[in-house]
Amino acid sequence: MIKVQNLAKVFGTKRAVDGVSFSVNRGEVLGFLGPNGAGKSTTMRMITGFLPPSGGSVSVGGFDIVEHPIEAKRLMGYLPENAPAYTDMTVYGFLNFTAEIRGLRGDARKQAVSRVVEMCFLGAVLHQSVETLSKGFRHRTCFAQSIIHDPDVLVLDEPTDGLDPNQKHEVRQLIRRMGEKKAIIFSTHILEEVDAVCSRAIIIDRGRIVANGTPQELRQRSEWAGAVTLRVKGVVASAVTAKLYQVPLVKKVTVVDDKDGHVTVRAFPKSSGNGALAQAIGEAAHEWQIEQLHSEEGRLDDVFRSITMPDTAKEAA
């Protein structure tokens, strides 16, 4: 549904987006990750036709956003960053306006408005002016606007920003449900959201794509992926590490904690991603009193940091 090829945007001398290519099909939810200023919003603004690209192309549902902007925009719903809405209107007036400009008239418009009001839980504030809304409600109002015409393509710039944990949960559920039938791109800083919602994630840094894969694949890139943490009682740390180094699959062992006779060590595997290491370690440690033994899944935030800030990530480790 969305096809982005070699997209670039230059502001003055700064290359905000530099050769970004990806595509999103129907039924996919693409998470767009990256530090602030990486070019996420700029990319989204080009996809939605707000900013003209300096290079490359975007096509939505087969329509080029530059050549056929109206047709492409018709297929898209867009939630801009910070969820802007006309402050002088009521929620109902605002949704009516957006429905009308999307070409919905008469009964179709009424149905569309009441559908999104229900989906986004806006019933309580329907006749309140947007200006007086709390941030969460304003956000949902703008979100409602983006899905009012039931678009095939949704572009959401930080859809859960500024929401409380319950609202975040609701919005994620909503995105995931809609993702079954639509092509969705959404940007976020919150990595757990990627796990909760995305079928695929892209990490973008300094205008370039630095990682692209399913959340599972990205996690595999973590140093932590497949590492095994072991806590035992009544042994000295050096004895534990020595023994673990004898296990053939182990690449490195670090002592995490050692006090009052409780020793916690972490063993990193030579090749990541299977349960064999935990099994082998379990066998090697059978003569000790095991208090804890578990296998790490790999952490997205770790991957994110090591990719976007390679220097500091090494220092921290």
């Binding site: 003209p52 047709e71 809405a85 209107m89 306006f97 957006t98």
Partner: protein, 247 residues
């Protein structure tokens, strides 16, 4: 057909926006007070002893509009940019032109309403004497076209900035030039410098072109002048909006 529907949707929204804020009411009240005060006290409507609205009423319009029209036009784009709704508006399936024309039309219709509410002046002069109502009507049309020209200039300045105050001041200065280019004291100075320049300079003044309407003459050149100022300004607005986005 469809494109006019989009224009009309925008126009309706903008008009509603005027009336949900106090701006519309404040504007109309101030405009009517000014009109009344200047017509009857400063303009010497009664002392003239003639059934005409030209000198006491319409003569003041270019000066009223100088302050009031930039106030109406300043929020059109500046507010959209400040709040960020411009990003919503321009990613809707409409063209930038439809948005520009829709917004302009809303403000222009609003000014038409304010102008129409001066009808008691017309009733007064008809009650007291036998004015030429044809002249009054053409003067009203001219006044409305002139307001449209000012408004279109305010559209440009509004698109230039996200601050309404800056927009207001710049469009006020530009409109002042359009008045002064036809203002007798200024013309006298230009005449002393170079008599040849007078025609050229006064051609660009709204005063020169409004004069004809006040005499009851509907000259196509005057109409064309105002319409081309409007067209040119709206075109400039679209260019500014595009370059702003091009970064």
């Amino acid at each position: 057909m469809n494109s006019w529907r989009n224009v009309w949707t925008i126009t309706k929204r903008e008009l509603a926006a005027y009336f949900t804020s106090p701006l519309a009411y404040v504007f109309i009240v101030i405009f009517l007070l000014l009109c009344g005060f200047f017509t009857f006290f400063v303009g010497g409507f009664f002392e003239r002893q003639e059934a005409s609205l030209v000198r006491p009423f319409f003569d003041w319009h270019p000066w009223f509009y100088l302050f009031l029209v930039p106030a109406v036009g300043m929020r059109l784009w500046a507010e959209e940019r400040r709040v960020g709704t411009i990003e919503l508006l321009l990613t809707m399936p409409i063209t930038a032109w439809q948005a520009i024309v829709g917004k302009f039309l809303a403000s222009w219709l609003f000014l038409a309403l304010a102008l129409a509410l001066t009808f008691p002046v017309v009733i007064t002069v008809n009650y007291l004497g036998r004015p030429d109502n044809g002249v009054i009507l053409t003067a009203y049309v001219g006044s409305w076209l002139m307001a449209g020209a000012y408004l279109a200039i305010s559209c440009i300045t509004s698109a230039l900035t996200r601050s309404q105050v800056v927009s207001f001041i710049i469009s006020l200065v530009v409109c002042l030039f359009l008045i002064l280019a036809g203002f007798p004291p200024v013309i006298n100075v230009i005449e002393q410098v170079s008599p040849k320049l007078v025609d050229l300079v006064t051609f660009f003044s709204v005063m020169t072109h409004f004069e004809g309407f006040q005499k009851g003459v509907l000259d196509s050149r005057d109409i064309l002048f105002f319409l081309s100022v409007i067209g040119f300004s709206l075109f400039t607005t679209s260019v500014i909006l595009r370059t702003h986005r091009a970064g």
